[in-house]
């Protein structure tokens, strides 16, 4: 508290990211990072940029990166906005496209950064409950009174559950007066991307990150795909905030990551295979596991408390994420998909904890 703070600062409840432990040797399954390294071509591209040119500003439009992303999705560069991680992209989306008189709709169980952005920019929100099976029900969004925008992750986080593309399309067909943001941070692990609908729906914005399927959480690159009018709004806000959000190394590494499709597809394939093995092993141990299309699973055990399980695993040097709220998910653990070895370690630790 300080008399020097702007009023808004007193009202903020900042987002709390998953723990980044400074102790080595932990099995870290708490922040949905990729267990496999980024493409060697990414490291090569960064190494080539690590020189005298760092004295010069980067390209403020990051054109090479927007072109690489456009190539990957079969779109044009003017349909692509890039930012310093998808969290920054989302922040600009809230300011540029979701700040209207009518409330923004988002699922009640969802990425917990959404209400934080909304508070920062003074945006009213309305939470739409997931159904009893923890699924997003499109009809609930279509039935709500006038909205100033809709945002949801697909697959949803922390449930991991995917909304079929046909349902996303139905939502877009029924909601044309406000922007619909599909936050696809985890889409590459088994859901269908709405990127292919961008040419069809001018109110659609699709947000991606290189932090998950491209194994670059440490490089901070995210992007949005949409109609050039939506992209222009984001550029205007970005150019009123920071002309150069992406440094030279992130731009170079990002281009290489988008271009190395074989590496990316292999990473996704391995992650999905391990996820399915882990989900089956958890079910064998009595867990209810929601059907995941992401690089994590969301699971609860009928005989054990979520917080206690998470604490027990931590004693065994395995980190997973537990959310106390909302109440409805307090029994669940969110467990990132690790390597085969990390998964074995998780299962062994679980056996110890469950046997107590």
């Amino acid at each position: 508290m300080s008399r020097y703070w702007s009023d808004i600062v007193h009202q903020l409840t900042p987002y709390v990211p998953g723990e980044q432990p400074k102790i080595a040797g932990l099995v870290k399954l708490n922040t949905n990072e990729c267990p496999y390294p980024p493409s060697p071509r990414v490291l090569q591209a960064i190494a080539e940029q690590t020189g005298e040119a760092l004295r010069l500003y980067p390209d403020p439009q990051a054109t090479a990166l927007r072109e690489a992303i456009a190539r990957h999705h079969g779109l044009k560069a003017e349909q692509v906005f890039v930012g310093n991680g998808s969290d920054e992209v989302l922040a600009h989306v809230f300011m540029a496209l979701l700040r209207h008189e009518a409330p923004l709709l988002h699922p009640d169980i969802s990425y917990s950064f959404y209400p934080v952005y909304a508070r920062l920019y003074g945006i009213t929100t309305r939470e739409i409950p997931l159904d009893e099976q923890f699924a997003i029900r499109v009809d609930d969004y279509l039935a709500a009174p006038a909205n100033g925008g809709i945002i949801f992750p697909n697959p949803n986080a922390p449930t991991g559950m995917a909304l079929p593309l046909s349902e996303v399309r139905r939502l877009l067909q029924g909601n044309r007066e406000s922007v619909v943001v599909v936050d696809e941070a985890y889409v590459d692990f088994g859901a269908e991307s709405a990127a292919r609908l961008v040419d069809e729906f001018p109110q659609l914005l699709v947000v991606h990150t290189l932090s998950k399927s491209r194994a670059l959480a440490g490089l901070r690159v995210g992007y949005a795909l949409g109609h050039p009018d939506l992209i222009e709004a984001l550029v205007r806000v970005k150019d009123s905030f920071n002309s150069y959000p992406l440094d030279r190394l992130a731009i170079a590494g990002g281009v290489a990551a988008m271009d190395d499709v074989a590496w990316f597809e292999d990473t996704c394939r391995r992650t999905i295979a391990t996820r399915e093995r882990m989900a089956a092993a958890l079910r064998d141990r009595g867990f209810e596991v929601l059907p995941s299309a992401a690089n994590f699973v969301f699971a609860r055990h009928p005989g054990h408390d979520g917080a206690e399980l998470a604490a027990g695993l931590r004693e065994q040097r395995v980190l997973v994420r537990h959310f106390r709220r909302p109440e409805r998910i307090a029994a669940f653990l969110r467990i990132s998909v690790g390597t085969e070895e990390q998964t074995d370690a998780l299962l062994a630790a679980l056996d110890t904890v469950l046997a107590r």
Copy 2:
């Protein structure tokens, strides 16, 4: 224009950064980059981080970097805030500390991003004119009605002129009810830093960048120094915007840049020597050159139009910056200090243009 835009987007007039030419072979003296490379220790530190660990999120608090900055200035890490370039730091400063009912004061001739931030966040501003010699006059700030904050660059941009530390102190002594931001992007080239006043004045925030004297415009690292209460406001806004603004490579490179004091001091010394030679050579050619404490000079020629001179130099493949507004500086050119060779090329090009 689009019906999907938030109201604020229609009102924005984004900042326009200096041209980043895609053609090679130009003598680029238009964006105040450092003409000398960053420390080899920076490149080494980045190379060491360019590996598998990029799959992991960076430290959201960038503790190692804040500690290195604190060491350099003889402060504590909790007095340091870091961001993705000083432009991002300034954006958060406007939101967190300068958004009050009373207007924000800044010089009429100053960093042209200030009014852009103010518009983005709905902050009222009042411009305080520089005096006839283009100097900031502290008495004009002290005489103004109640303010919601004061911000100015020191040295000022684009004039390059420094305000003595005694005058900064006098401003702080007379203005204790609102935050005073001293934006010291160019301070290392000859002005006195207010960093040493941070322990004394709880309303003082000093902003620095690694883009100039540390030759890292391409890496995007900036920071603020101030009382822990001011830093906390910035952290709250940052954690409501983007948990991880600095990537792993920027953190590692930033630490090495702060630690290599000898390289930094040598860069400053060479830049200052060339600046003085360039200023003298410009005066020899009939220019009026404002006394610069920065890595650029601001100069006008009584017999030549500023815009025409800039265009003529561009034909000679030398880029400098010209501002059409405000009217009072339309005759001036802002010329970055380059290498000795670049300076020779500038002077030769000027001789050609002036002889026409």
